[in-house]
Symmetry: C2
Subunit: 355 residues, 2 copies
């Protein structure tokens, strides 16, 4: 690992840090960033840590027109004894490479990226908040930078990592959300880019979110693009349902993102001997289960919120899940996962990586 040469160009001045007890998500960035360039024929080169600074691109840069870009999202946590922990960061680097392959973008050296990330966090140790529920959000991303109007893969790219301290997702305890089942707009379809973490998927999801928001729903539940019938994701999270003692999540079918929280929850449930299945599940089945009194819990999963319980669904008619309250499994999963992440619980899976 230590063979990597990363140039260090540290900032002469330091920003004033925001109050760690009142952090807004994605607004305050640290003093430095990690950058590495790609040039066709030469590969990735010049990995470096530099002062946080604007990106300067030609107006014809392909990112602005043809959208070749992928990203990741993960967090670093400060333990009680001031250690800094990452949660399965190798999974993020692997997924970044899978996303890049779909978008015809070059692969990165995952070890180098992880090494660079650790070096960057080391420089920014003071930025990792230490209050309950807070963390340092990490955003690695790759953009295509060639100055060329043409629908073909860019010949140059930049890989960048930026960091921002973020607050507890649930300020007053974990809170169930109201979700509208989306029947008009589609997030992704088999053969599309749904299983890649790429900008276009998020841009296209805004409209449905806006419409749902106007009716008082905080997010949408996406159905498949082909039959408009099977459940895919909720907002930008994976989704789980507990029906009659069994936990069910949509199988990875190519249009669903392979969530790292999703994977961790499946492993945790198996560890606890709670039955869990990855399979196709229709929205009809959820409503049927509810009618039969068998729908026990529903929740979204993702890095930002970890677990987001679903209290209400709307599809043709309203459906209350667990009386609109957070279920016991959701709660247990939330506490266990966050506990493993922030170092307060043991880590039977070897998921933590020390910075």
């Amino acid at each position: 690992m230590n063979d990597y040469q990363i140039e260090m160009n540290l900032s002469q001045s330091r920003k004033q840090k925001p109050a760690f007890d009142n952090l807004q998500f994605g607004r305050n960035f640290t003093d430095h960033m990690f950058i590495m360039d790609y040039t066709e024929g030469k590969g990735w080169h010049d990995p470096r840590i530099v002062p946080y600074q604007p990106i300067t691109l030609d107006p014809s840069a392909t990112i602005f027109h043809y959208g070749q870009t992928v990203f990741e999202g993960l967090k670093a946590y400060q333990t009680k004894d001031e250690q800094i922990l990452l949660f399965r960061p190798n999974k993020n680097m692997e997924r970044l490479n899978r996303s890049s392959a779909r978008l015809c973008m070059p692969q990165i050296d995952e070890e180098l990226a992880l090494y660079g990330l650790k070096q960057l966090i080391n420089v920014e140790r003071d930025w990792v908040p230490n209050l309950e529920g807070t963390s340092l959000y990490i955003r690695p991303f790759i953009i295509s930078t060639e100055a060329h109007l043409g629908v073909s893969p860019s010949l140059t790219y930049q890989f960048i990592i930026i960091l921002c301290p973020v607050g507890a997702y649930y300020k007053e305890g974990i809170n169930p959300v109201k979700i509208a089942v989306e029947t008009e707009y589609v997030r992704a379809v088999r053969g599309g880019t749904g299983n890649a973490k790429t900008a276009g998927n998020y841009a296209s999801s805004l409209k449905a979110q806006e419409v749902a928001g106007k009716s008082g729903y905080s997010q949408v539940l996406w159905l498949d693009g082909k039959e408009n019938k099977y459940i895919e994701e909720v907002g930008s999270m994976n989704v789980f349902f507990k029906i009659d003692g069994e936990v069910i999540t949509p199988e990875l079918n190519g249009s669903i993102l392979d969530g790292i929280t999703r994977d961790s929850i499946i492993l945790l449930l198996k560890h606890w001997n709670i039955p869990v299945k990855e399979r196709k599940i229709s929205i009809e089945e959820i409503y049927q289960a509810s009618k039969e009194g068998k729908l026990e819990e529903a929740f979204g999963t993702g890095t930002a919120a970890v677990i987001s319980p679903i209290g209400e669904l709307f599809w043709k008619e309203k459906l209350l899940v667990n009386n609109g309250e957070t279920g016991s499994l959701s709660k247990k999963l939330y506490e266990t996962l966050t506990g493993i992440q922030n170092g307060s619980l043991v880590d039977p899976f070897g998921w933590r990586v020390l910075v």
Copy 2:
């Protein structure tokens, strides 16, 4: 029209112009660009013409992560008597606004945008090439610029127009292309963003193009995302088939881009009393028509190539269209449309706009 105030900040120096008889598409940009800013609550402001210059954005700018961006593509032509003509530019500004609406981006004043474009071209008159088949390619685009990691519409945007002289698309006469029918990857689906001109659609199309390219095909024919059966577009063009004397193009179903060349061709065909239908058409039907000897011509349509004849298709098996040669209708449409565009033919439809 003349009430608009556009600030002019002209460049002190001028670039060396490329040779107009050997222009590469999308590589040489003119001396100036048009910019206008949007701030939530204030609307669009500060329209201005400035020296062509880099765009500087925070690394957290939403364009890099969540891809809110739309664009247009049109051309300006120089006539024999040195007039400069635009082709239906109002259609592009209307479509830009329709694309923006889908992406939750603010609407522009189409008249102001067109006025700004004309002012810009006026400044760059020397950049409009005058050789047969050449033109000035115009790229208006809007990017989201807010420094914020969050899946919600950006609160700030930039609208920019850049220009580049482009050469004749067909250097040695109009040339039929070989097209692979795409059965694995999907460009767009009902409920997605297929009818918006937004970056994500192009990023997601690269992979199929790459695979087809490796087998010697220059583009792919996209089928619908739902049934993988009905024809949608070819590469980034609309597509037409002449079968048994009738011209057929896929109907605008929400996942197909509403091409301005497509619309112009439909109007031209009607003007000529050639039967033309917008309807669903399956790839099966094309192969059947070919077997029965009724498939006469096939061609793609778009601003860049105007008409791109299809000489060969591959879906399960190879299919030669019109013996791999350019059909007479394709040729006539190409000559008529380019003639109207460059001012060498009369314009019965009032499509030209003088700069």
